[in-house]
């Protein structure tokens, strides 16, 4: 059982610790573009009240379905509202939902996963519950929750987050289960470290990298689900400007004015694509197995 080692003398004792920073964001041009796109969408969403040319909720029946013009850069919708302003505002809900779902599902999933990874009897119960939740298609679960408890921002956020929790919990659990077999965890047990200390110091750090990656995926998937809910008419109430709502209203006029669907669709796709690309880049930068694979190539 010879393990590949370099001769003792050939390892310099002075090399610096290699901890991945945010450098991966500029590692490839595509990732850099994705980062810039996402930053731009975030900025525009924050600044929406100041940079929007019109009030996104203002009804103007006289201005229905106007084509693009100097006054309305992207035209108006069926109620005469300015589409550009609605799109600028629409990013706020999407980003809020994406970020909220990522944070909440990670906090809850981490707790469930850590405990399940360590206590067998809790594990048996929790994993059955997680399996059950995962068996329900997430859209169905979300629309059922929203239809019963009313479509507010909070209920939509909860409805979108619930189906993401099992994925996070399972991920954390599998990391904990494999990490606790590591000899360094056994070594910590034999030097008398307490269970909370072992969890905090030796197990938790292993979950950080996968959770960052999973967080970006949850974020992307939550933005998508919110848009689908709105699109199906089961999301936040239609007068609130969200990308999904703009498209839902545009459905009826698709043959006359397809831009009502394409512009918000484009923004939505770019936002999700950017988050996904950044997630992939983070995974490649954080996952030592991937790095090793690249190294051996």
């Amino acid at each position: 059982m010879a393990i590949e080692t370099l001769p003792e003398s050939s390892i310099p004792l002075t090399s610096s610790s290699t901890r991945p920073g945010l450098g991966f964001l500029t590692a490839s041009p595509i990732i850099a573009i994705a980062t810039i796109c996402l930053a731009a969408i975030v900025l525009v969403s924050i600044l929406a009240p100041w940079i929007s040319p019109h009030d996104p909720m203002l009804l103007a029946p006289a201005q229905r379905l106007k084509p693009a013009s100097e006054q309305f850069l992207l035209g108006t919708d069926a109620y005469g509202r300015d589409v550009l302003s609605r799109i600028l505002y629409g990013g706020r809900i999407s980003l809020l939902i994406g970020l909220g779902a990522a944070v909440i599902s990670i906090v809850i999933g981490l707790a469930i996963g850590l405990v399940s990874g360590f206590f067998k009897w809790i594990d048996a119960i929790m994993m059955r519950i997680m399996d059950g939740l995962m068996a329900i298609p997430s859209i169905l679960l979300a629309i059922a929750v929203v239809s019963l408890s009313g479509a507010t921002l909070t209920t939509v956020l909860i409805a979108i987050t619930i189906p993401e929790i099992p994925r996070v919990a399972r991920l954390v659990r599998s990391v904990v289960l494999s990490a606790r077999e590591e000899p360094y965890v056994e070594a910590a047990i034999s030097v008398g470290s307490s269970l909370p200390k072992i969890m905090w110091r030796h197990l938790m750090p292993n979950t950080i990298a996968p959770l960052i990656v999973q967080g970006t995926y949850v974020c992307a998937s939550a933005i998508l689900t919110e848009a689908i809910l709105s699109f199906l008419g089961a999301g936040i109430s239609p007068e609130v400007p969200t990308w999904g709502n703009i498209m839902a209203e545009g459905r009826a006029y698709f043959q006359i004015k397809p831009s009502l669907i394409f512009w918000p669709g484009l923004m939505l796709s770019i936002a999700i694509l950017s988050v996904n690309l950044i997630g992939d880049a983070a995974r490649d930068a954080l996952d030592p197995r991937m790095k090793q694979r690249e190294g051996r190539k």
């Binding site: 010879a2 390892i11 004792l13 360094y184 056994e186 030097v191 008398g192």
Partner: protein, 560 residues
Amino acid sequence: MSTVPSSRPVALDIRDLVVRLGKGPTADKIIDGVSLQVREGETLCVVGESGSGKSVTSLTVMGLLQKGALVPSAGSVRLVGEELLIASDKRLRQLRATTMAMIFQEPMTALNPVVPVGRQIDEVLRVHTGLDAKARQQRILAMMEQVRLPDVKRIFKSYPHQLSGGQRQRIMIAMALVLEPKLLIADEPTTALDVTTQKQILSLIRELQKDHGTAVLFITHDMGVVAEIADRVMVMRQGRIVETGALDDILRAPKMEYTRNLLASVPSLVPRTPRPASSEPVVLETSGLGKIYRERSFFGTAREVAAAQDVTLTLRKGRTLGIVGESGSGKSTVARCIVRLIDPTSGEVRLRGSEISTLSRQLLRPHRKHIQIVFQDPYRSLNPRVTVGETIAEGPINYGVPRAEALKRAGELLELVDLPADAISRYPHQFSGGQRQRIAIARALALDPDVLVADEAVSALDVSVQAQVLELLDEIQTRLGIALLFITHDLRVAAQICDEVVVMQHGRVVEQGPAGEILTHPQQAYTRQLLEAAPGRGWDFANFQPVAPELQASAASPAE
């Protein structure tokens, strides 16, 4: 050892081979000017430690280097006169299995797990011959018999996981030799096997070579194996040849310093002079210790596997007790039960007189500090995210030592294990395997334990590093009077470090007693078998001479 007459044709001729890490003239050289010849019927052993480039050399011949990563950039490789470095992919595929074949280190992973082994051999014949199904099967079964597989018809249809490690390696050999290639490359083919299996495989390769006149390029890190199988030896280090010569010349009169050191690092199988019997207090005792695993199957019939049974041993202060055995003997189970990483199902463990085998987590805590463990794999036994200092200080801090004091002590311990004190603020990945094992030892010593359990603690290390770590353990024992429980599969290591040994097989103790007695006058057949299987047992490598006959284990005197 027979010498092969120089009139036999050369099967493999490598001249001034250079392999670089990537394309381009400035890329690092992994192989730097290696030349070698292997004649038909001859075995050339390429020996070296990790990173010596011995495996890269063999993969270059087979044309199996990962494309674009390792690039042969100069020299020539001729197989029966044909240049391989410029051969097309198609030509190389034709030559593989027909003219050159290879067997690998891990028979566990070298066979496709989802295809029956017979079909895997059959694939070779289907690709390279026009034989019909019946003729192919006959030939395969005949070959399987040649490699001494039992019940060949059944094994033909078996999947790899249904066979033992030795059987799998025999399948690999059958697959490699079924088309009678001129050259066989064997890359550490017995390293993953137990000694008794290793012995059988080595003699099988020798025998088949004699029958078929095959040229064998045998790659190994183990001087014992070299002594068993080589006609000629080539020593490599960091991609270069150190020296080449006939087996006897290399073992008796190595010319180069590196070869001398390499040979001097091989522990002798002749036990060291026994230390006087000790009357120091007993620090660790087990009686009737056992561990049974119960596997619950669905219909209630529980299957029981006894990983260890009825193990009774005694360890005194300042002494070293070895537990030796092959894989599956239960030696590691015993160690883990003693340290209470797993809970024994029967028997007692008395640490400094206190029974600890059934204590709860809480009650066990005060006892834990008296017994510490060092694991086999130095790459996994240190948390990569925690500094060396914090790792060593973790134990003392758990037992109430103030942080600053614990870190100061960690610095002292690093010096004790011959590492610079400034290693304290670095992370494990900045250290080599041997250095990491020293850190792991420092961590274990930080709690001033009475007993140190070393579970295969030097098995993953290169032989020269292994020698240093063994020396360190010896020194620490002399200085601190610590008791060592040493788990190993390597009889050579046991012979050099243990006062007493316990030989285990299938979870039971076969024989126990003073190391000098057991390893020279074994009473049990199994112990004798183990000793006889130890590769290179006829050589005292460190003294560049064969073992004097009177010191050899008296295998011939069965004392039933």
